[in-house]
């Protein structure tokens, strides 16, 4: 699913490498928990995978395509077609209702659209929302939902159209423990329907036992090791 070799990344304004990952692999359908302290480059790593940040060198292969060789617009299209991204701050569009927020990716990716046709859109949305327990709120403005409900709307938006990979950036940080666990389980139930892989990053390791594999960013990223030694 994901194959990374010799990935090096630094921000243009800084002289230090933030990411230096010799090797990282992820199988199809695998659910990986990636942890590390705040500021160690977790979000940067996800952004490199999503093609939002471009690495200095290295290979980032997702579903057999090297993201680093794509043009900016190809990356945009690839991300829209293949991935679902769940943000820490949910990033819902405030003036759209629950259903409109969830179905938005279908309008920007023709691949996702072929998987969920316009005729099927309502049925599919209702199905996902039923599973996530937000079905009663479909026509409500997202701003009127609780944090936990908004979280689930963001998850539904990421999962619709069957992406092959879901990148989740600390999506549970606003929830209490019980809700976190429940949320992860619901998310996995949805992902298992279509063998979707999940890369979940967090600084909080209480959830790691739910995942297939759990690893620290330090284990794969040499640059942060160097950093730590220096400290």
């Amino acid at each position: 699913m994901i194959k990374i070799e010799n990935l090096k990344f630094k921000y243009p304004s800084s002289s230090q490498l933030i990411l230096d990952i010799p090797k990282f692999q992820m199988k199809k359908g695998e659910k990986i928990f990636l942890y590390g302290p705040s500021g160690c480059g977790k979000t940067t790593f996800l952004e490199v995978l999503a093609g939002i940040n471009s690495p200095l060198e290295g290979i980032v292969e997702i579903s057999g395509c090297d993201v680093t060789k794509m043009s900016a617009s190809e990356k945009d299209q690839f991300r829209a077609d293949q991935m679902g991204y769940i943000f820490q701050s949910f990033n819902l569009i405030p003036y759209l209702n629950v259903q409109e927020n969830i179905t938005l990716p279908l309008y920007f990716s023709s691949k996702k659209r072929t998987r969920v046709s316009a005729a099927n859109e309502n049925k599919k949305t209702t199905e996902i929302c039923k599973l996530l327990g937000i079905e009663p709120y479909l026509t409500q403005p997202v701003t009127e939902l609780s944090v936990g409900q908004q979280q689930r709307v963001a998850a539904a938006r990421a999962i619709i159209g069957q992406p092959s990979l879901i990148l989740a950036d600390e999506p549970t940080s606003a929830l209490d423990f019980n809700h976190r666990e429940k949320f992860i389980k619901l998310l996995f139930a949805l992902c298992n329907q279509h063998q979707t892989s999940v890369l979940f990053v967090s600084h909080d390791r209480t959830l790691e036992k739910l995942f297939d594999r759990s690893l620290s960013l330090h284990e794969i990223n040499i640059s942060s090791k160097v950093d730590e030694d220096a400290l």
Binding site: A50, D76, R79, Y85, N91, Y95, L96, E100, F108
Partner: protein, 393 residues
């Protein structure tokens, strides 16, 4: 489709700022249109003071002088046209009708025009508009007088009131009055927004009657005075007039006729084409035109700057929203399309609002503008400058 929906919902979500943006653009559109229209109205009000007339004939003088004293009551006539010459020209086969003007007297700062029924029947201004009465009818009898609308507004005379004409003064207070021969108000004209509003109108007979015993050029002595009740249409012989408007039967003859009159042998006369002379005069005042154009341009500039700044400010506000859409797969092209579409929608709405505001305003206020300022909302609805504005937006 999704872009349309997003744009509409997003705009509705930002109702207040959307409305303010629309309003501010609409205001500058309104202002621009208003300036443009005022400009056109000023020009037309001036150059269209008299229309559908082919020639204006007076004693030989400068063309500007002739038009100024005949139409605008500025300056004074250098000489008269004899009644015989007038009759001769009037009966030429190519002449359709004439409107005689006999000037020289006034009433409380307004001039008194001696004319005949042709004035009420044939005088046209601003294209097709003819003279209408708000009260009463034309002054055809010897002692009848009709008031222009501004005269009526200022002096508040009613039908039947007596009016005494001052001798030899067309502006300001008179010294010698035709006190022995008062006129009676028989009609009041509707406002026209031209110099017509600032005159009183009597018949040529009336003009002759008040001067019948002034043959020496001075007021008559007691024993020379002819009492008013002795005078009637039958025993008044009309003398010279000041100038007259002329309409040919087929307008092709205008230039030939103009040459004929200018070469008239019995007395020196001048015939001019009023439309051309008025146009020349307006161009002579071209500074007014330039100033108005400059104001138009400045308004255009300020309007565009305001529009661009409000749209840019809106963009900044929406950076986050754009980032979210981007992360969901909306490429830069689609985001640009969304923003461009939004801007078009905003400016479109704003221009529409502006045009409606402008039109509504002029429709609502036109009566008031007419009566207060003699300002007439005329001319085409839109000028090339307007289109330029739409285009640049």
């Amino acid at each position: 489709m999704i872009l349309l929906r997003l744009a509409l919902k997003s705009l509705r979500n930002r109702q207040t700022s959307t409305l303010l943006t629309i309003l501010s653009i609409a205001m500058s559109v309104t202002l621009l249109l208003a300036v443009e229209r005022t400009k056109r109205a000023a020009e037309e009000g001036f150059t269209q003071s008299v229309s559908q007339v082919d020639l204006l004939v007076g004693a030989r003088t400068g063309p500007l002088n002739l038009i100024l004293y005949t139409v605008f009551n500025m300056g004074s006539a250098s000489n008269n046209i004899s009644w015989e010459s007038y009759q001769e020209i009037k009966t030429l086969p190519e002449v359709a009708w004439t409107i005689p003007y006999s000037l020289g007297d006034g009433h409380k700062g307004f001039r008194v025009v001696g004319t005949d029924e042709n004035f009420y029947q044939h005088y046209r201004y601003r294209g097709q508009k003819n003279i209408e009465f708000q009260d009463g009818g034309p002054a055809l009898d010897v002692w009848d007088v009709v008031l222009g609308s501004q005269v009526f507004d200022k002096l508040k005379y009613k039908i039947g009131d007596k009016v005494v004409v001052a001798h030899g003064v067309t502006r300001g207070e008179g010294i010698q009055m035709h006190e022995d021969k008062p006129f009676r108000v028989v009609g009041i004209l509707k406002p026209t927004g031209t110099a017509l509003d600032q005159s009183l109108y009597i018949s040529l007979y009336g003009m002759e009657a008040i001067h019948i015993d002034w043959k020496t050029g001075a007021a008559p002595t007691q024993e020379n005075t002819i009492p008013q009740n002795y005078l009637s249409k039958e025993n008044i012989k009309i003398g010279p007039i000041t100038s007259f408007f002329l309409r040919t039967k087929t307008r092709i003859e205008t230039l030939t006729l103009q040459r004929t009159i200018n070469n008239y042998e019995s007395e020196p006369l001048l015939a001019i084409i009023p439309g051309a002379a008025l146009g020349d005069l307006w161009r002579g005042l071209s500074q007014i035109d330039t100033v108005l154009k400059l104001i138009s341009l400045m308004v255009l500039f300020v309007g565009l700057a305001a529009m661009i700044s409000t749209i840019l400010a809106g963009l900044n506000e929406r950076r986050r929203e754009m980032a979210i859409l981007r992360s969901l797969g909306a490429g830069p092209a689609r985001l640009t399309a969304l923003l461009v579409f939004e801007s078009f929608l905003l400016t479109g709405l704003a221009i529409l609002t502006g045009v409606l505001l402008n039109t509504g305003m002029f429709v609502l206020l036109s009566d008031w503008l007419e009566s207060q300022f003699g300002f007439y909302v005329v001319g085409q609805m839109f000028s090339p400058t307007d289109y330029l504005y739409y285009f640049s937006s």
